[in-house]
Amino acid sequence: MSIKIFVPQDSAALALGADVVAENVLIEAKRRGIDVTLVRNGSRGMLWLEPLVEVQTADGRMAYGPVGPEDIAGLFEANFHLGGAHTLGLGLTEEIDYLKRQERLTFARVGITDPLSLADYLALSGFQGLHKALTMAPTEIVQEVTESGLRGRGGAAFPTGIKWKTVLGTAAAQKYVVCNADEGDSGTFADRMIMEGDPFVLIEGMTIAAVAVGATQGYIYVRSEYPQAISVLNKAIDIARQGGYLGSDILGSGKAFELEVRKAAGSYVCGEETAMLESIEGKRGIVRSKPPLPAISGLFGKPTVINNVISLASVPIILDRGAAFYKDYGMGRSRGTLPFQLAGNIRQGGLIEKAFGVTLRELMVDYGGGSASGRPIKAVQVGGPLGTYLPESQWDTPLDYEAYMAMGAVVGHGGIVVHDDTADLAKLARYAMKFCAIESCGKCTPCRIGATRGVEVMDKIIANQDRPAQIELLRDLCDTMLNGSMCAMGGMTPYPVLSALEHFSQDFAQAVHEETVAGEHHV
């Protein structure tokens, strides 16, 4: 009987040589006359172990990793294809603590299935949510999503059901569903892992959204930095169309929905929903003023549902298992789970899907195993480049939208970037301003001019020129950006800057110290 061996085709695995590993598995198996079926699965999300190779045994899937191309001969020598012991052996995949302690709802299939196998998808409850939705009235679907408590996973945490209700209630001959897959935040890769590892769940979620609001055309706006995701999505859309899950008559329901991938072009601000609409319309990614809401007048002026990849990919399980099931996870007004993405200077980085309420410390210590460098962790940025830097005193606050807001932080898209004690928060604050200056769409002055001024001011602070006055100026500038910007790009850039200043003021002073020391060296 043929032996099933899994080598991920997720970008993270590919970037660590997974293609050569896969090739070597086939070569070595052939050389030894072993009948092997190679499956290119998504990633399990234990990214420090990539490429993570798995073997199907009678007891379950056995994991080995991280596997390099040079390890394959030795693995076969140790009979790993029969589950044999080897120094890279990790035991049964499902029993690995990191994975076992997660609550995988949205990511239930990622890493397990062949992302482009419709049969795999169907075998693990695929398209059950859509089948259910097709038996329901549009208002009932919207009601189910509202009751689940699902809030937008793209950053703003707006209730998904309420957004859909507005689109449903706005009469129009043409409506759209747009998936925001621009995922520009440093420290995030959950959208990418869904698109590469379980594209059908996104297609299903978008189709349910379309059926709920009466949309017939959908777009997935994917960043150009994700070529693998684009390629997998395009193939999955073709397969879904052939299977009758997309097209002019979805599963014989008489309802139509077409889906198209649109490639972005390397602009962070195009992740902002109205800039994204402009971009899909073929224009510069300039933020639109609101109102009108995109739900009323969105893409090409038509009512449009805009949701993040994770929001949409969470919809099928909500429809399949019911709102109550999903809502049972989480705390307060943050219901369900969030795929946290542990990144940066962390020993065991990866994707951890957990119910809201888990703390940063649990994620970084229990899952992450501390810093990669082995040095003390100093600052953690949560929620992408516009998120705050959290000092240790804030690591025990539960990850919950309201609890984070209460301390002036954001959960955002769930990206967690860890910095050890060599990090210089003055430099990171300068970077935040620089990033805003590079990516600003230019529509409003506080952001366009403010960010450029912010870089100059940070340069002076770092160079110890008139420091107290410059820090005063920085605060003023941040105040103007916070209150006067049209969108969160300019409006939230002060978050990382001010939190760095607030909690790591020694770095703003240390910059002075280093300057003096360096100066002395030159004498």
């Binding site: 970037a15 990214l47 420090w48 995922e183 440093s186 420290g187 930095e225 072009a265 602009s267 990033f435």
Partner: protein, 152 residues
């Protein structure tokens, strides 16, 4: 590149996408994928075909970091400069790349910053000609570049 050839290629790509709503970005991607850059002389052609002003087309090309209007070097190197990579020595790597490429013939490599490649748990990361590389040390980068040299 010969102007007639460019004109013909651009016409072909425009034809493929012309009827799509919001065709401009797909057209620009198509041209850059085919020719490696967006020749400035194609702006008129695009604006006529899509019924846009030249200023609009030019504005879109310059707005997006991804599009280039000059022919690319033989290899492109995109080094991630975002926070997660910074936390793992990304700035040192970027410096090393700049130095290392400086030593070599110009015109062979284009080095661009990029802000996150989605490999943040395996930082620092970079992309060489559409191929991603994670956990890149200066030594690993040298190996990658040497291998490239051997093939180019």
């Amino acid at each position: 590149m010969n102007p007639a050839f460019i004109h013909q290629q651009v016409a072909k790509i425009i034809e493929q996408h012309r009827l799509r709503p919001g065709a401009l970005l797909p057209v620009l991607h198509g041209i850059q994928d085919e020719l490696g850059f967006i020749p400035s002389e194609s702006v008129i052609q695009i604006s006529l075909a899509l019924n846009l002003s030249r200023a609009e087309v030019h504005g879109v090309i310059t707005f997006y970091h991804h599009f280039h209007t000059t022919p690319p070097a033989r290899h492109s190197i995109q080094v991630c400069r975002a926070e997660a990579c910074q936390s793992m020595g990304g700035e040192n790597l970027a410096e090393h790349v700049a130095q290392r490429i400086d030593e070599r013939a110009a015109g062979l490599y284009d080095v661009h910053p990029v802000y996150c490649l989605g490999l943040c748990a395996n930082a620092p990361a970079l992309m060489i000609d559409e191929v991603l590389h994670a956990r890149v040390t200066p030594e690993k980068f040298d190996r990658l570049i040497n291998a490239l040299g051997a093939h180019s």
